[in-house]
Symmetry: C2
Subunit: 327 residues, 2 copies
């Protein structure tokens, strides 16, 4: 049996895992310690990879490659982070090459939400489907789109940046600097921001300024009208974004993941209502919206899947230019 | 040399051509006569195809297949129009199979805007590029998206329906029934509708109720403020749509075609201004917006290109299920 090392680089934590046959056999968690920059991070990651390789040897399986999930806009062919608000020190750092040198394994790399989508597509809610799109409603809103097995990647170094679909022109300000992006309504950050604004405006709620999405979720279920309204607002924004996603791609299966999506049942009705208002191209019942099946394991499984695909491709024909046809 | 017959089925006219090496060698035009339905149309198209085959024989070239461009939402694998407002009688008709039987050639089929995009990608403004998207601003607004050489097609039987990206929630009513689609601002129909509304509201213009896009274009160039404003409004809507297109696909080259786009220089500034306001994911100068190079020949060249690809694929390996990997 062949296994792969998967790494999910995040702004707070880095998760690592040993994956074989779509299963996460072992995993490790490290503090990313962004303030130290990528050098020290690389050393700790390399040490953890060494442990995972030893673990694989104990189990009698080989490690055939590595897959890395990173936030931000990437040049996934060169293996470099172009821009990532939470990992400024990583921008321009030759991440893939350095990892390959340090660990001694070939590495592939993609955006974390894209790899979340790929994991979910192969082993979760998208299993056996031809097409699938994913929204990750977390601190920010990410996404990935897979058509006929291939992740969408345009020439601009991004693809599936579904959090920046505009849902309300001139609306709430987004972390990217624009107004009215989905992320400004359906991320955990946005929900907290809207909560504070409503409290400041004197709206009655049992929640306080410091309450996060988990508490909002609980309050909504216990009948707090403001908490419920904020989830409905996120659902409404998601409906508008899905309409635009469908117009561009024609995708028929949409998976909703990330921490905010634990409240999917609170958002589903307003999401469907908004979709019914704006999506007239196809009968609405053809479009399936489902919650994520794998949650935080999905990016690791996706990273390993990407590494597996690369291996298969290299077995069939050597790469001409760094993996043009990989996705 | 191998050639292909290309057919562009439209609500008013049907164009046919003989294409070899990306060149339109001969072409014919027929009235579609939608009121008669697809049966009589098929007979006349078959007769025209016979002429094109004879023309190919005279030139000493073989005809290897057919490509058909059709408006509407299609099942492009089964070769059936699912829904098309201007071709109601064609809906559900086994178009591809009937054409193959009548002409005696294998036929591939896709949406006309997708094939416009494919033609432009291979032989026009997208030549030599990896990725490209196209907007056709005509009676309606269509589109096509090509990433790494492949046309986007989702499982819903559509893809690249860029005219139905929502640009103004709650805005002008669109032909599809929704409010605020790009098509409700940037199609010839929308420009004429907005013109009538403004005249009714008492806005001064040299234009009249019956004037079309050509006259509006001329009036705008001669300083008519309303005509200019309407093109700018179309440009503004296009900017918003491009922002969403880029978020979903990351495409870096956008081609603007169709009759309204002859006034592209009148729209470009407002389009860029709106893009600057809402697109913060990548530096704006990385995104290229260019006018169509091929205009009405593009769908025919694209249909022939699709037929050529099918031929090549069948030479490599016989189709498992009607062309799963064609695009």
């Amino acid at each position: 049996m062949r296994s792969f090392i998967a790494i999910d680089l995040g702004g707070s934590n880095t998760r690592l895992g040993l994956v074989a046959g779509g299963e996460l056999l072992v995993h490790r968690m490290l503090d990313t310690r962004t303030e130290q920059g990528p050098g020290p991070w690389l050393e700790r990651v390399a040490a953890a990879c060494k442990e995972l390789k030893a673990e694989a040897a104990v189990r009698g399986i080989s490690v055939a490659g590595m897959g890395l999930a990173s936030p931000g806009v990437l040049d996934h062919r060169r293996g470099v982070v172009l821009s990532s608000p939470n990992l400024r020190a990583w921008e321009g750092f030759p991440l893939r090459r350095k990892l390959e040198d340090a660990v001694g394994l070939a590495c592939v790399m993609d955006n974390d939400a894209n790899l979340y989508a790929l994991g979910e597509y192969r082993f979760g809610a998208g299993r056996g489907e031809r097409d699938m799109a994913l929204f990750t409603l977390g601190t920010g809103v990410g996404g990935g789109v897979i058509l006929a097995g291939r992740l969408l990647h345009g020439g601009l170094g991004l693809g599936g940046e579904l959090g920046h679909i505009n849902v309300e022109p001139g609306g709430r300000i987004c972390g990217c600097g624009a107004r009215g992006c989905l992320e400004a309504y359906a991320s955990a950050t946005a929900l907290r921001g809207m909560l504070c604004e409503e409290i400041n405006a004197g709206v009655h709620t049992r929640l306080g300024f410091d309450d996060g999405v988990k508490k909002m979720d609980r309050a909504a279920r216990q009948g707090d009208p403001l908490a419920l309204e904020l989830f409905q607002r996120a659902g409404w924004a998601l409906g508008r974004a899905i309409n635009n996603l469908v117009a561009v791609t024609g995708v028929g299966l949409v998976v909703i993941g990330g921490g905010v999506a634990r409240g999917w049942d609170l958002m589903a009705e307003s999401c469907h209502r908004e979709l019914a208002a704006c999506l007239h191209l196809v009968p609405l019942e053809k479009l399936r919206l489902v919650p994520s099946a794998l949650q935080e394991d999905a990016p690791l499984l996706g990273a390993a899947e990407l590494a597996r695909r690369r291996c298969e491709q290299e077995t069939r024909n050597p790469p001409p230019d760094g993996g043009e046809d990989l996705e």
